[in-house]
Symmetry: C2
Subunit: 205 residues, 2 copies
Protein backbone atom coordinates (compact mmCIF):
# COMPACT_ATOMS: atom_id res chain seq x y z
CA UNK A 1 0.00 0.00 0.00
CA UNK A 2 2.79 2.32 1.00
CA UNK A 3 4.66 1.44 -2.18
CA UNK A 4 2.23 3.34 -4.41
CA UNK A 5 4.48 6.32 -4.78
CA UNK A 6 4.72 8.27 -7.99
CA UNK A 7 8.13 8.29 -9.66
CA UNK A 8 9.53 11.23 -11.63
CA UNK A 9 12.86 11.67 -13.30
CA UNK A 10 15.58 13.23 -11.17
CA UNK A 11 15.28 16.91 -10.39
CA UNK A 12 16.50 19.36 -7.76
CA UNK A 13 13.77 19.43 -5.14
CA UNK A 14 15.67 19.54 -1.86
CA UNK A 15 13.84 21.96 0.39
CA UNK A 16 13.53 24.16 2.35
CA UNK A 17 16.70 26.05 1.42
CA UNK A 18 17.97 29.50 2.39
CA UNK A 19 17.47 32.08 -0.40
CA UNK A 20 20.77 33.71 0.56
CA UNK A 21 21.70 37.23 -0.47
CA UNK A 22 25.25 36.86 -1.78
CA UNK A 23 27.37 40.00 -2.05
CA UNK A 24 30.55 40.25 -4.10
CA UNK A 25 32.90 42.77 -5.69
CA UNK A 26 34.06 45.52 -3.33
CA UNK A 27 32.71 48.59 -1.53
CA UNK A 28 33.20 50.75 -4.64
CA UNK A 29 31.75 48.31 -7.14
CA UNK A 30 29.59 45.82 -5.30
CA UNK A 31 27.04 43.38 -6.65
CA UNK A 32 24.40 41.21 -5.04
CA UNK A 33 22.46 38.16 -6.15
CA UNK A 34 20.17 35.60 -4.56
CA UNK A 35 21.40 32.03 -4.36
CA UNK A 36 19.46 29.12 -2.90
CA UNK A 37 22.02 26.60 -4.14
CA UNK A 38 24.12 26.94 -0.98
CA UNK A 39 24.61 25.07 2.29
CA UNK A 40 27.19 23.71 4.70
CA UNK A 41 29.88 21.33 3.43
CA UNK A 42 32.13 20.80 6.45
CA UNK A 43 32.02 21.85 10.10
CA UNK A 44 35.76 21.93 10.82
CA UNK A 45 37.32 23.67 8.98
CA UNK A 46 34.12 25.60 8.23
CA UNK A 47 33.34 25.21 4.53
CA UNK A 48 30.42 26.25 2.38
CA UNK A 49 29.60 26.66 -1.32
CA UNK A 50 27.50 28.59 -3.75
CA UNK A 51 26.55 27.23 -7.17
CA UNK A 52 26.27 29.83 -9.94
CA UNK A 53 25.42 29.72 -13.64
CA UNK A 54 28.46 30.91 -15.65
CA UNK A 55 26.27 33.41 -17.54
CA UNK A 56 25.40 35.35 -14.39
CA UNK A 57 27.04 38.73 -13.92
CA UNK A 58 28.44 37.82 -10.50
CA UNK A 59 30.14 34.69 -11.81
CA UNK A 60 33.02 36.64 -13.36
CA UNK A 61 33.31 38.94 -10.35
CA UNK A 62 33.67 36.05 -7.89
CA UNK A 63 35.84 34.02 -10.27
CA UNK A 64 38.27 36.94 -10.29
CA UNK A 65 38.09 38.15 -6.65
CA UNK A 66 37.63 34.63 -5.21
CA UNK A 67 35.62 36.15 -2.37
CA UNK A 68 31.95 36.53 -1.51
CA UNK A 69 29.66 37.03 1.48
CA UNK A 70 26.58 34.95 2.27
CA UNK A 71 24.02 37.20 4.01
CA UNK A 72 21.15 35.35 5.69
CA UNK A 73 17.75 36.53 4.37
CA UNK A 74 14.85 37.78 6.49
CA UNK A 75 11.16 38.53 6.05
CA UNK A 76 11.89 42.25 5.87
CA UNK A 77 14.25 41.57 2.98
CA UNK A 78 11.96 39.21 1.04
CA UNK A 79 11.24 41.67 -1.78
CA UNK A 80 14.98 42.26 -2.20
CA UNK A 81 15.61 38.50 -2.03
CA UNK A 82 13.23 37.98 -4.94
CA UNK A 83 14.40 41.01 -6.92
CA UNK A 84 18.08 40.09 -6.58
CA UNK A 85 17.32 36.61 -7.91
CA UNK A 86 15.44 37.85 -10.97
CA UNK A 87 17.38 40.97 -11.97
CA UNK A 88 20.98 41.23 -13.15
CA UNK A 89 23.62 43.66 -11.91
CA UNK A 90 24.46 44.18 -15.59
CA UNK A 91 21.19 46.08 -16.01
CA UNK A 92 20.39 47.63 -12.66
CA UNK A 93 22.06 48.71 -9.40
CA UNK A 94 20.17 46.35 -7.15
CA UNK A 95 21.36 48.06 -3.94
CA UNK A 96 19.85 51.37 -5.07
CA UNK A 97 16.70 49.78 -6.46
CA UNK A 98 15.99 47.94 -3.18
CA UNK A 99 17.46 50.51 -0.75
CA UNK A 100 20.11 48.13 0.54
CA UNK A 101 23.09 49.46 2.52
CA UNK A 102 26.48 47.83 2.56
CA UNK A 103 29.03 47.65 5.38
CA UNK A 104 32.70 46.76 5.44
CA UNK A 105 33.42 43.10 5.93
CA UNK A 106 36.23 42.19 8.32
CA UNK A 107 38.26 39.74 6.26
CA UNK A 108 37.24 40.16 2.61
CA UNK A 109 36.85 43.07 0.22
CA UNK A 110 33.31 42.02 -0.69
CA UNK A 111 30.75 44.05 1.27
CA UNK A 112 28.37 42.83 3.95
CA UNK A 113 24.66 43.58 3.70
CA UNK A 114 24.02 45.76 6.76
CA UNK A 115 20.40 44.64 7.16
CA UNK A 116 21.24 40.96 7.31
CA UNK A 117 21.36 39.56 10.84
CA UNK A 118 24.33 37.32 10.08
CA UNK A 119 26.82 37.19 7.24
CA UNK A 120 29.47 34.63 6.34
CA UNK A 121 32.66 36.01 4.82
CA UNK A 122 33.98 33.43 2.38
CA UNK A 123 37.12 32.78 0.38
CA UNK A 124 36.91 30.49 -2.66
CA UNK A 125 39.17 27.44 -2.64
CA UNK A 126 37.90 25.55 -5.72
CA UNK A 127 35.59 26.03 -8.67
CA UNK A 128 34.00 22.79 -9.85
CA UNK A 129 32.21 22.62 -13.21
CA UNK A 130 29.05 20.54 -12.88
CA UNK A 131 26.75 21.46 -15.79
CA UNK A 132 24.28 24.35 -15.70
CA UNK A 133 26.00 25.52 -12.51
CA UNK A 134 29.57 25.66 -11.24
CA UNK A 135 30.16 25.05 -7.55
CA UNK A 136 32.36 27.58 -5.75
CA UNK A 137 33.74 25.79 -2.69
CA UNK A 138 34.83 28.24 -0.01
CA UNK A 139 36.28 28.57 3.46
CA UNK A 140 34.16 30.61 5.87
CA UNK A 141 36.80 32.89 7.32
CA UNK A 142 34.68 35.24 9.44
CA UNK A 143 31.11 35.74 10.63
CA UNK A 144 29.60 39.22 10.92
CA UNK A 145 26.61 39.62 13.23
CA UNK A 146 24.14 42.42 13.86
CA UNK A 147 24.63 43.12 17.61
CA UNK A 148 20.90 43.45 18.20
CA UNK A 149 20.65 39.67 17.91
CA UNK A 150 23.10 39.06 20.73
CA UNK A 151 21.51 38.98 24.18
CA UNK A 152 22.93 40.00 27.55
CA UNK A 153 24.53 36.62 28.00
CA UNK A 154 26.31 36.79 24.66
CA UNK A 155 23.94 34.25 23.12
CA UNK A 156 22.99 34.62 19.46
CA UNK A 157 19.19 34.94 19.27
CA UNK A 158 18.95 34.08 15.59
CA UNK A 159 15.37 32.88 16.14
CA UNK A 160 14.38 36.55 16.52
CA UNK A 161 15.83 37.59 13.17
CA UNK A 162 12.86 36.47 11.05
CA UNK A 163 14.83 34.19 8.74
CA UNK A 164 13.08 32.94 5.62
CA UNK A 165 13.17 29.73 3.63
CA UNK A 166 12.68 28.94 -0.06
CA UNK A 167 10.62 25.90 -0.96
CA UNK A 168 9.37 24.82 -4.39
CA UNK A 169 9.16 28.37 -5.75
CA UNK A 170 7.75 30.02 -2.63
CA UNK A 171 9.28 32.11 0.17
CA UNK A 172 8.16 31.26 3.72
CA UNK A 173 8.73 32.77 7.14
CA UNK A 174 9.93 30.29 9.72
CA UNK A 175 6.92 29.32 11.84
CA UNK A 176 6.36 27.39 15.03
CA UNK A 177 9.38 26.03 16.86
CA UNK A 178 8.97 22.25 17.04
CA UNK A 179 11.94 21.31 19.18
CA UNK A 180 15.63 21.78 19.64
CA UNK A 181 18.49 19.46 18.86
CA UNK A 182 18.45 16.44 21.18
CA UNK A 183 14.87 16.89 22.42
CA UNK A 184 13.85 13.39 21.34
CA UNK A 185 16.29 11.70 23.72
CA UNK A 186 16.24 14.16 26.60
CA UNK A 187 14.53 13.18 29.82
CA UNK A 188 11.63 15.55 30.31
CA UNK A 189 11.40 16.09 34.06
CA UNK A 190 14.93 15.50 35.18
CA UNK A 191 16.54 17.70 32.55
CA UNK A 192 19.51 19.64 33.81
CA UNK A 193 21.89 21.99 32.11
CA UNK A 194 24.41 19.19 32.18
CA UNK A 195 22.20 16.70 30.34
CA UNK A 196 21.30 19.35 27.76
CA UNK A 197 24.97 20.04 27.17
CA UNK A 198 25.62 16.33 26.84
CA UNK A 199 22.89 15.98 24.21
CA UNK A 200 24.25 18.92 22.26
CA UNK A 201 27.70 17.41 22.25
CA UNK A 202 26.26 14.39 20.51
CA UNK A 203 25.34 16.49 17.51
CA UNK A 204 26.52 14.66 14.44
CA UNK A 205 25.54 16.65 11.39
Amino acid sequence: MHDERIVWKGSVMTSPLPPALVTCGDMDKPNILTIAWTGTLCTQPPKTYISIRPERYSYGIIEKSREFVINLPTSKLVRAVDFCGVKSGRDVNKFEAMGLDICNASAVKAPVLCDSPLSLECRVTDIVKLGSHDMFLADIIAVSVDPKYIDKNGRLTLEKAGLIAYSHGDYFALGEKLGDFGFSVRKKKTQTKKSKKKANNKHKA
Copy 2:
Protein backbone atom coordinates in the same frame (compact mmCIF):
# COMPACT_ATOMS: atom_id res chain seq x y z
CA MET B 1 26.66 53.43 12.33
CA HIS B 2 25.75 50.38 10.29
CA ASP B 3 29.36 49.25 10.45
CA GLU B 4 29.14 48.35 14.15
CA ARG B 5 28.75 44.67 13.49
CA ILE B 6 30.27 42.06 15.72
CA VAL B 7 32.86 39.80 14.11
CA TRP B 8 33.40 36.17 15.03
CA LYS B 9 35.76 33.61 13.58
CA GLY B 10 34.38 31.54 10.71
CA SER B 11 31.77 28.93 11.51
CA VAL B 12 28.98 27.07 9.75
CA MET B 13 25.88 29.17 10.34
CA THR B 14 24.06 29.02 7.01
CA SER B 15 20.38 28.65 7.78
CA PRO B 16 17.63 27.60 7.48
CA LEU B 17 18.59 24.17 6.15
CA PRO B 18 16.56 21.00 5.60
CA PRO B 19 17.18 18.39 8.33
CA ALA B 20 16.88 15.64 5.72
CA LEU B 21 16.22 12.02 6.61
CA VAL B 22 18.78 10.10 4.56
CA THR B 23 18.18 6.40 3.99
CA CYS B 24 20.85 3.97 2.84
CA GLY B 25 21.69 0.27 2.69
CA ASP B 26 18.92 -1.89 1.20
CA MET B 27 15.42 -3.15 2.06
CA ASP B 28 16.87 -6.05 4.10
CA LYS B 29 19.48 -4.02 5.98
CA PRO B 30 18.51 -0.37 5.85
CA ASN B 31 19.82 2.52 7.89
CA ILE B 32 18.68 6.10 8.34
CA LEU B 33 20.36 9.26 9.60
CA THR B 34 19.57 12.97 9.70
CA ILE B 35 21.73 15.27 7.63
CA ALA B 36 21.38 19.04 7.43
CA TRP B 37 24.62 19.39 5.49
CA THR B 38 22.85 18.93 2.15
CA GLY B 39 21.53 21.13 -0.66
CA THR B 40 21.40 21.57 -4.41
CA LEU B 41 24.65 21.74 -6.39
CA CYS B 42 23.50 21.85 -10.01
CA THR B 43 20.13 22.11 -11.77
CA GLN B 44 21.01 20.31 -15.00
CA PRO B 45 22.13 17.56 -14.61
CA PRO B 46 20.44 17.45 -11.21
CA LYS B 47 23.16 17.13 -8.58
CA THR B 48 23.12 17.17 -4.80
CA TYR B 49 25.41 16.22 -1.92
CA ILE B 50 25.44 15.06 1.66
CA SER B 51 28.38 15.68 3.99
CA ILE B 52 29.04 12.93 6.55
CA ARG B 53 31.56 12.42 9.32
CA PRO B 54 33.66 9.32 8.51
CA GLU B 55 32.97 7.90 11.98
CA ARG B 56 29.24 7.68 11.37
CA TYR B 57 27.77 4.21 10.79
CA SER B 58 26.17 5.21 7.48
CA TYR B 59 29.46 6.48 6.06
CA GLY B 60 30.76 2.99 5.33
CA ILE B 61 27.38 1.82 4.01
CA ILE B 62 27.14 4.67 1.48
CA GLU B 63 30.84 4.51 0.63
CA LYS B 64 30.30 0.88 -0.38
CA SER B 65 26.84 1.03 -2.01
CA ARG B 66 27.38 4.51 -3.49
CA GLU B 67 23.64 5.14 -3.18
CA PHE B 68 21.36 6.98 -0.79
CA VAL B 69 17.93 8.61 -0.65
CA ILE B 70 17.20 12.12 0.66
CA ASN B 71 13.72 12.12 2.23
CA LEU B 72 12.28 15.57 2.92
CA PRO B 73 11.36 15.99 6.61
CA THR B 74 7.96 17.08 7.93
CA SER B 75 6.46 18.28 11.22
CA LYS B 76 4.97 14.83 11.82
CA LEU B 77 8.44 13.34 11.51
CA VAL B 78 10.25 15.89 13.71
CA ARG B 79 10.83 13.48 16.60
CA ALA B 80 12.32 10.94 14.17
CA VAL B 81 14.38 13.70 12.53
CA ASP B 82 15.94 14.53 15.87
CA PHE B 83 16.33 10.91 17.00
CA CYS B 84 17.98 9.84 13.73
CA GLY B 85 20.48 12.66 14.10
CA VAL B 86 21.43 11.76 17.68
CA LYS B 87 21.35 7.95 17.65
CA SER B 88 23.51 5.56 15.68
CA GLY B 89 22.35 2.59 13.62
CA ARG B 90 25.20 0.67 15.27
CA ASP B 91 23.27 0.70 18.55
CA VAL B 92 19.60 0.82 17.64
CA ASN B 93 17.22 0.00 14.80
CA LYS B 94 15.98 3.54 14.24
CA PHE B 95 13.13 2.45 11.95
CA GLU B 96 11.68 0.24 14.70
CA ALA B 97 12.33 2.77 17.44
CA MET B 98 10.50 5.54 15.57
CA GLY B 99 7.90 3.39 13.75
CA LEU B 100 9.18 4.31 10.32
CA ASP B 101 8.14 2.27 7.28
CA ILE B 102 10.28 1.84 4.20
CA CYS B 103 9.24 1.47 0.57
CA ASN B 104 11.08 0.30 -2.51
CA ALA B 105 12.88 3.04 -4.39
CA SER B 106 12.61 3.00 -8.19
CA ALA B 107 16.24 3.34 -9.21
CA VAL B 108 18.41 2.50 -6.19
CA LYS B 109 18.58 -0.35 -3.67
CA ALA B 110 18.43 2.08 -0.75
CA PRO B 111 14.89 2.33 0.65
CA VAL B 112 12.55 5.30 0.53
CA LEU B 113 10.91 6.55 3.72
CA CYS B 114 7.19 5.98 3.04
CA ASP B 115 6.05 8.86 5.26
CA SER B 116 8.18 11.45 3.49
CA PRO B 117 6.25 13.53 0.93
CA LEU B 118 9.15 13.58 -1.51
CA SER B 119 12.36 11.58 -1.79
CA LEU B 120 15.39 12.04 -4.01
CA GLU B 121 17.08 8.83 -5.16
CA CYS B 122 20.79 9.55 -5.48
CA ARG B 123 23.87 7.87 -6.87
CA VAL B 124 27.30 8.97 -5.60
CA THR B 125 29.75 10.27 -8.20
CA ASP B 126 32.57 11.58 -5.99
CA ILE B 127 33.66 11.55 -2.36
CA VAL B 128 35.63 14.66 -1.38
CA LYS B 129 37.56 14.76 1.89
CA LEU B 130 37.16 18.18 3.52
CA GLY B 131 38.01 17.78 7.22
CA SER B 132 35.47 16.77 9.87
CA HIS B 133 33.11 15.84 7.04
CA ASP B 134 33.46 14.23 3.62
CA MET B 135 31.21 15.47 0.85
CA PHE B 136 29.38 12.80 -1.16
CA LEU B 137 28.52 14.39 -4.50
CA ALA B 138 25.63 12.62 -6.20
CA ASP B 139 23.38 12.59 -9.23
CA ILE B 140 19.66 12.72 -8.44
CA ILE B 141 18.41 9.92 -10.66
CA ALA B 142 14.76 9.72 -9.61
CA VAL B 143 12.20 11.50 -7.44
CA SER B 144 9.59 9.55 -5.48
CA VAL B 145 6.45 11.44 -4.44
CA ASP B 146 3.55 10.62 -2.13
CA PRO B 147 0.53 10.88 -4.49
CA LYS B 148 -1.54 12.71 -1.88
CA TYR B 149 0.53 15.81 -2.61
CA ILE B 150 -0.34 15.83 -6.28
CA ASP B 151 -3.54 17.69 -7.10
CA LYS B 152 -6.10 17.08 -9.87
CA ASN B 153 -4.06 19.13 -12.31
CA GLY B 154 -0.91 17.13 -11.66
CA ARG B 155 0.65 19.95 -9.67
CA LEU B 156 2.88 19.11 -6.70
CA THR B 157 1.38 20.77 -3.62
CA LEU B 158 4.53 20.53 -1.53
CA GLU B 159 3.34 23.52 0.54
CA LYS B 160 0.76 21.16 2.11
CA ALA B 161 3.35 18.64 3.25
CA GLY B 162 4.38 20.47 6.43
CA LEU B 163 8.09 20.63 5.63
CA ILE B 164 10.44 21.66 8.41
CA ALA B 165 13.65 23.66 8.60
CA TYR B 166 16.67 23.49 10.90
CA SER B 167 18.12 26.76 12.13
CA HIS B 168 20.79 27.30 14.78
CA GLY B 169 19.93 24.17 16.73
CA ASP B 170 16.15 24.45 16.46
CA TYR B 171 13.53 22.76 14.27
CA PHE B 172 10.84 25.03 12.80
CA ALA B 173 7.67 24.48 10.81
CA LEU B 174 7.44 26.61 7.69
CA GLY B 175 5.17 29.54 8.47
CA GLU B 176 3.50 32.30 6.50
CA LYS B 177 3.99 32.35 2.74
CA LEU B 178 5.64 35.67 1.88
CA GLY B 179 5.66 35.50 -1.89
CA ASP B 180 6.50 33.34 -4.83
CA PHE B 181 9.41 33.51 -7.21
CA GLY B 182 9.18 36.63 -9.38
CA PHE B 183 6.60 38.47 -7.26
CA SER B 184 8.85 41.52 -6.85
CA VAL B 185 8.86 42.29 -10.57
CA ARG B 186 5.36 41.16 -11.49
CA LYS B 187 2.73 43.74 -12.31
CA LYS B 188 0.03 43.45 -9.71
CA LYS B 189 -3.19 44.17 -11.55
CA THR B 190 -2.38 43.09 -15.06
CA GLN B 191 -0.90 39.75 -14.07
CA THR B 192 -1.73 36.97 -16.48
CA LYS B 193 -0.74 33.34 -16.55
CA LYS B 194 1.62 34.22 -19.36
CA SER B 195 3.49 36.86 -17.35
CA LYS B 196 3.75 34.50 -14.41
CA LYS B 197 5.22 31.83 -16.64
CA LYS B 198 7.66 34.34 -18.07
CA ALA B 199 8.82 35.36 -14.60
CA ASN B 200 9.31 31.75 -13.60
CA ASN B 201 11.41 31.10 -16.67
CA LYS B 202 13.75 33.81 -15.53
CA HIS B 203 14.64 31.83 -12.43
CA LYS B 204 18.38 31.86 -12.07
CA ALA B 205 19.31 29.93 -8.99
